[in-house]
């Protein structure tokens, strides 16, 4: 079963690249990729409900992939499916040139393969390989239009990501040296056995953490995030902000530091500190932004801070909260980036000083952005509230009340900058825009409504999500 999530997109990738003219027609390409992603969403939803478990994996005999599917992977697959689907939807209404469509879909497929494999893997080097594949596909995606900003954003992202990779490689080398293997199980055993190579393990953990913090884009290493997010084309920024940096940075952090490595006190404190600084610094930084997408990027840094903070608490409940926040954040941040795409398509800009009074003209965008913003700020009953609440309760229970209080009060800051955004963009006087005003496309409107619905549903039905995916996580956390 797990290898299907890798092989299906791979087969599709091969088919798309076969030299038949009719296969390249847009009419065949969009539905194929979209359908594949919908299938992924459906399967990853049903799997934890015990429906898909009976199906034997026919490929397991031929390939020794060593993939494993647990509830953490399955919720990640769900997120990847949803966000990639939305990104494809948005792109379908923004890209029309045939060559570009072809490139875009190929790269999307590659990045989906990369992310799917990343979340299923149980070997630390293969993990690196697929994180790198995802990153590569995304570099090309961001730079695809080759504008000045796009190229600059890509270059910054590329260099920092490569430096992060070097950190991770060095760490992998130390693990190999200490353990003699690169599989998660062996590394976990080495941590548990407390052998004489403890120094090498510690060194590796520290280096890996550095690499991952760059990939996550949390505060001391956040320089590339706003550039890359705002430079990318609309559909790509949805993918990038929604899943790519989350899977290749935050997921790996969750997987390794939550379930494989054993955190000592110093590491916990580091994570807590990095988390809280990210939350506060990025929230303040976003207060001063004038570009919609850059503001969202800083908000993203701040929200990732919550996940890192929860990981620092190092309790199963905090881990549950972190994964829940991951899910919510992926959904509502994608929603907000789709809103930005909608504004960009309509007005040709995302500069908030040049936009105003769109509330009456773009009703769907306005309403759904409100849901996204309130959810980000953690206002109940939307989904963001529950995950933040769990994280904060976990911090309290773990005996870190100061961090909990700061994290909670930072939501007021989040609310403040989002209210100012809302005021500038959707209320106030209508500012005349130079670009021709076109009607919002079906693809964008549909994805806005879809993501907003998921946000509301996850808020009202948080119990279902907790019971299905998240509470079982407590077993895999040590």
């Amino acid at each position: 079963m797990p290898s299907l999530f890798v092989l299906t997109p791979f087969l599709l990738l091969v088919v798309v690249n076969l030299p038949f003219k009719f296969l390249r027609k847009q009419i065949a390409l969009w539905p194929a990729v979209g359908g594949m992603l919908v299938a992924q969403v459906v399967f990853s939803t049903f799997y934890p409900l015990n429906i898909g478990r009976g199906i034997a994996d026919p490929f397991e005999q031929f390939f020794m992939f060593g993939l494993s599917l647990d509830s953490l992977s399955s919720i990640m697959l769900l997120i990847i499916g949803i966000v990639a689907f939305v990104s494809v939807l948005v792109a379908s209404s923004m890209i029309s040139e045939e060559r570009q469509v072809f490139h875009f879909l190929n790269l999307i497929l590659i990045s989906v393969i990369g992310m799917n494999t990343t979340v299923l893997i149980s070997d630390i080097f293969s993990l690196y390989v697929f994180v790198e594949i995802t990153a590569l596909a995304v570099f090309v995606l961001i730079a695809m239009e080759k504008g000045k900003f796009a190229i600059e954003g890509t270059f910054k992202y590329l260099i920092l990501s490569a430096v992060a990779s070097v950190f991770m490689l060095t760490a992998i080398a130390f693990f190999l040296m200490a353990v003699g293997s690169t599989s998660f199980a062996a590394i976990k055993d080495a941590f548990a056995s407390n052998s004489s190579d403890a120094f090498l393990l510690k060194l590796g953990t520290g280096l890996f953490l550095c690499g991952l913090l760059i990939k996550c884009g949390v505060v001391p290493f956040h320089g590339w995030v706003p550039d890359a997010y705002s430079a990318a084309p609309a559909s790509v920024s949805v993918l990038l902000a929604g899943v790519v940096t989350k899977v290749s940075g935050v997921y790996v952090l969750l997987r390794l530091f939550g379930t494989v490595f054993i955190l000592n006190a110093a590491l916990q404190n580091t994570l807590l500190l990095v988390g809280i600084i990210s939350i506060c610094f990025a929230a303040f930084a976003s207060l001063t932004q004038t570009d919609f997408k850059r503001m969202l990027a800083y908000s993203s840094i701040s929200q990732v801070g919550y996940i890192v903070l929860a990981l620092g608490a190092a309790t199963p409940l905090a881990f549950v909260g972190a994964v829940f926040h991951f899910f919510n954040h992926a959904i509502f941040k994608s929603l907000l980036f789709v809103n930005a795409a909608s504004l960009e398509k309509r007005l040709g800009t995302t500069d908030m000083d040049k936009i105003g009074g769109m509330g009456s003209k773009m009703k769907v965008t306005s309403a759904t952005s409100l849901i996204g913003l309130l959810s980000t700020a953690g206002i109940p009953p939307l989904s963001g509230f529950w995950s933040k609440l769990i994280i904060i309760i976990a911090l309290f229970s773990a005996g870190r009340p100061v961090y909990a209080v700061i994290a909670l009060l930072a939501s007021a800051l989040t609310l403040a900058y989002f209210l100012s955004l809302e005021r500038k963009v959707f209320f106030g006087k209508v500012v005349a825009s130079p670009a021709a005003e076109t009607k919002a496309s079906f693809g964008i409107t549909f994805s806005e409504v879809l993501l907003a619905a998921i946000t509301v549903a996850a808020g009202l039905g948080f119990a279902f999500i907790l019971n299905t995916w998240l509470l079982p996580l407590k077993e895999i956390v040590h």
Binding site: G359, P380, S397, S411, A416, A463
Partner: protein
Amino acid sequence: MEKQLILFLIVMLPVAGAFFLPVVGRFSEAVRNRLAFLLVAASFVLSLTLLPSVLNNQVITISQNLPLGFNFILTADALAVFMAMVSSFISAIIIVYSFTYISHYENRGEYYLMVVLFLGAMMGLVFSGSLILLYVFWEITGITSWRLIGFFREKQHVLRADKAFLMTVFGALLMLIGFIRLYVETGSFDLQVIKEAVKIHPLSGLTVALIMAGILSKSATLPLHTWLPDAGVAPSPVTALLHAAVLVKIGVYVFARLFVVTMPLDIPWMNVIAIIAAASALVSAGAALIDTDLKRIIAYSTISQIGFIFLGFTVSNEIGVAGSLLYILMHGLAKAGLFLCAGIIEQNTKTKDITKLGGLMYTMPVTALSFLFCSFSVMGIPPFGGFFAKYMVIAGTLQAGHLAIAFVFLFGAVLTILYLFRVFNMVFMGDVGSSSAKEGSPSMVFCVALFAVLSLLGGILISYPNNMIAIVIKQMITGSIPT
């Protein structure tokens, strides 16, 4: 079983129904308006049907266990039903008033959505039996009032709406910290569990202070009161709803629910809160004396009266608490009437500045009379309802032996009389200021007159509410103070 269904419907009808209103509004405005009224009225009628069993000392509970102790619990006891009836009744009349008031503005669909959702959230808050549910509904009222204050979309309005939202959310976050501390100490958000746990381990002062911060911010009491006068930019029915009937009473109600019923506070805490309430009452009464904006004056008056309600709860004897409950009812009726009058005046004269108004007595006599009646009730002049409430609160204070505080409040009451007479004098007496003024639409005037009449009847027929409150008190006090 059936009672539980009713309880569920009281909350869910307006909450879920609200979202259909904009959809219905696309086809027919009239149907939407009536549906909005029906949803709110249904809440009132259904609460009324719960009354007999609740007065028989029954407690109706719906409980659904959810993971991590975030249980969904609705509890209907006498206090909750009383509060629900008061707010849903006032809201229903306000909706009738807004049929014509709001009919020539944009975004009507959003208006009805927010008002009905607000009422639904209020019902949920009143009946919620777990802290987390209470917090959820608390924030929903925050969201809806934010959109309602910024209803006219002008820059200044939106800024003030944001300010109100931020202040209440900040307070609510502090309160949430208090809730989480309780949760970590007792392992549950369930009020019943907490009630038992608190009997063994008394509350820590920090938790009380944090929760109080939330309550004070929502009920616009002294240190956190500035958002309320600014919120006067909202449409008048909204301000009536927010200030008088529902929003600020949330804080008072939660105070009663948590600190009178569930986990009674110590005497020193009660004294501190009484002093805060006294300061709040005096300062805002002073502000009301000098302000010239009609709606701001009434808003300051609300802050001042909220002080009285707090006072009644803090003395924690039967007569004081009964006075506070009566106060919630009477003040709600009278203050809603005042705001709706202000709405009529504002709409017909296009100004809220009382120095520019005058002589409206002759052009809008019914409104003038209603305003006077409602003012009498707020001032506490017998035989209006407000008199009995004020009398009982101060009597309770004296009975508890707080002579000084009672005097301060008496002074506050005198100030109330002063500033309300000043307003009445400047708006309705004297020369005819603007000639174009005329009486509002029939349905609006009817609503105003209804509130005025009810304020009077509430006083004359004081025995009916009083009997009911007596039962409520019995349940509250016997539940809270073990004898």
